[in-house]
Amino acid sequence: MKLVIEASEAVALGAKLSRVKVCPMYPITPSTHIPERISDYIFDGEMDAEMIHVESEHSAASAMIGSILTGSRSFTATSSNGFELMYEILPILSGMRLPAVMAIANRAVAAPINIWNDHSDSMSARDQGWIQLYVESSQECVDTIIQCYKIAEDKKVLLPAMMCLDGFTLTHVFENVDLPAQKKVDSFLPSFKIEDKLDVKNPKTFGPIGFPDSFMELKKQQQDSMLNALEVIEKANKDYAKEFGRSYGDGLVELFEMADAEYAILALGTICGTAKAKARDLRSRGKKVGVIKLRCFRPFPVESLRKAAKSLKGLAVLDRHISLGAEGPVFTEINSTLPKIKVFGYIAGLGGRDVTLDHIEGVFKDLEKGKQSREWLL
């Protein structure tokens, strides 16, 4: 069904279509419309799920441990410092191999207090063992939430996944969405089954201590599963395309006008849309430019990136976060992945600063000149 809805509603509908059973929620701007919509669906009897009004984000994440262990597909959403309050529980969900799915409405982390978009919340959690997918549009929101469950619950993966969407810049945008039919989603995403679950008749301990003689093996298993996730994400993208007619590159990176591109911009989320619009404009003036959208940041898709960038003369990475004292984290990783290509790193769009067509044009000019004029797109 085609309609115009807010991206936050697209996220909520993604959870509803995935037949989520438990939603422990603690609203925070700009993620708030997501629990609001889910609350509506439950109240109106359209969604058969339990909304738990928890007392903090820490509890929201903790409640998911329990709910998933009873075999219930679970979902939550958060932003910024609320997300940071979940921090203690993030590696517990991943270490216990629980396929939670969470939407992060990306927002700058205080101080100073700022409700607007950047990636400082989710980027700071890149080592917590969660799959991270960054999306660009409302359509991609609904499609990706459904795919997240497919990926996270795959036996080769069994890891939690977060879908990151830009706060306000995407969460509050109304736009065209083609909503998948429930019946088709049901056949794409079978109901959730957990092998070992909480059961009063058969009590077990979950998440016990891991001694030095087993801890490293368990971490290696997590790493192996993360790397397995690369092909599972690709397959989910391909299978989704078969069922619903839409795909996002190979699921890991999405390429725009890259076939003969000499220069490209690599970014995450909504910046990619503006970069595509500018690349189209520059192409009409004869410039061979393209855009690489890094959809999957964890696991890091080294092979897809090497393939995408192999004939480039120059690449610019736009980070919506800075690892203070170092550089943009995406830039760092791209640089080490593509040692033969000249890569410029830019810090852009922190705390809601608009990333404009002019910014993008300036970056393409830098690439063409072979000289980076600045590092901060102020």
Binding site: K2, L3, V4, H172, V173, F174, N176, T274, D354, V355
Partner: protein, 184 residues
């Protein structure tokens, strides 16, 4: 059709964000692709609010704010004392103002400006100064970018759960539309 951009100016609580969203849904009913989004500052009643709608025949990629609108819709001209509402307006772009004054009196004589007393229509039809939806009637008539039929549908959907509000807003929208057809 090339991408068209609309910027709404209003005060917090006046419904400029809703205007931009209802317009987006209406454009969708006309078969278009759209985007509507607010430029949120600190959300207080009475504070200046900007909201945007983009309309195109195909999918819209760009995500920057609207800097060079083809259309500016001013719901509350008293904001003009402090804000440059024609900033970045495309050459030949249209300014629609809710006012009983003339463009010249408002200092907008050099722009393609149309003044319509939407507040009066809203008071007559709705009984309250709700101008945000009625203003879309002016936009439909003066721009031709969206049909009145599609607006009616979008208004019905938006206010489905609010009793008479949908009917009253549709009526106000139509009255403003017809007024604009006369002065066009």
């Amino acid at each position: 059709m090339v991408l068209k951009e609309v910027r709404f100016h209003g005060r917090g609580g006046q419904g400029a964000v809703t205007s931009s969203q209802v317009l987006a849904v209406a454009a969708f009913h006309d078969g278009k692709f759209t985007q509507a989004f607010p430029n949120f500052g600190v959300e207080r009643t009475g504070a200046p609010i900007e909201s945007y709608t983009r309309i195109d025949d195909g999918p819209i990629d760009v995500r920057q704010h609207v800097y060079n609108p083809d259309y500016v819709i001013i719901l509350d001209p008293s904001l003009m004392a402090d804000l440059d509402m024609t900033k970045g307006l495309e050459k030949g772009g249209l300014v629609i103002v809710n006012s009983n004054k003339t463009p010249k009196e408002l200092g907008l004589g050099k722009f393609n400006t149309k003044c319509i007393d939407i507040t009066k229509v809203a008071l007559d039809v709705i009984g309250k100064p709700f101008v945000n939806i009625a203003a879309l009637g002016a936009f439909a008539s003066l721009s031709g970018e969206v049909s009145l039929k599609a607006l009616d549908k979008a208004i019905d959907e938006r206010f489905a759960a609010k009793g008479k509000i949908a009917a009253l807003n549709k009526e106000a929208c139509k009255v403003v539309f017809n007024k604009c057809e006369e002065v066009k």
